[in-house]
Subunit: 98 residues, 2 copies
């Protein structure tokens, strides 16, 4: 199969997985409600995406660097909102992570 | 730098990003509460990860295939819980996606 076609699928895949965090950022920003979002998920995700950034830098891949830089921004935004908006309700709801 | 070290970082990165969805699956299964989770995020994520699976198959990469197969299972589990647990409260809360 054409190399360009295969790489095109990879690019579309990367755009979808990176862009998937946008609706969550928008929803969380609008509702200010974070009780159902797992803190541990976004801690682990930010760590993993940061390591992908390091990996992309080490292998010299602009695609890996760009996709993961954008994903890290979005995932970090959700993590910060989880921490900030969840501060008030953490005790009252009695909910615990995960 | 050693090739094995660089690839090791990639493997740890992949393990972190894939495993990050586990706490969200556990939390959502326990609480049955999905109001704060974006349906569009998990629709787009499942589409993107499915395309990564196709890409992994086309380039013949067992690592890409394995990581994305596990991620798809976890993301699809969250998507199904969002649809099933969210059914009852969708109308009463008046909330809309994203």
């Amino acid at each position: 199969m054409e190399r360009e076609f295969v790489e095109g699928i990879g690019i579309v895949a990367g755009c979808c997985t990176t862009a998937s965090f946008v609706p969550q950022v928008v929803r969380t920003w609008r509702t200010r409600s974070v009780a159902d979002i797992s803190l541990r998920m976004y801690l682990l995700l930010c760590l993993g995406v940061s390591l992908w950034l390091v990996y992309g830098a080490l292998i010299g891949s602009p695609a890996v660097l760009l996709a993961n830089a954008v994903t890290l921004l979005l995932a970090a935004a959700i993590l910060v909102m989880k921490l900030v908006f969840g501060r008030g309700s953490a005790h009252s709801s009695g909910r615990r992570t995960p």
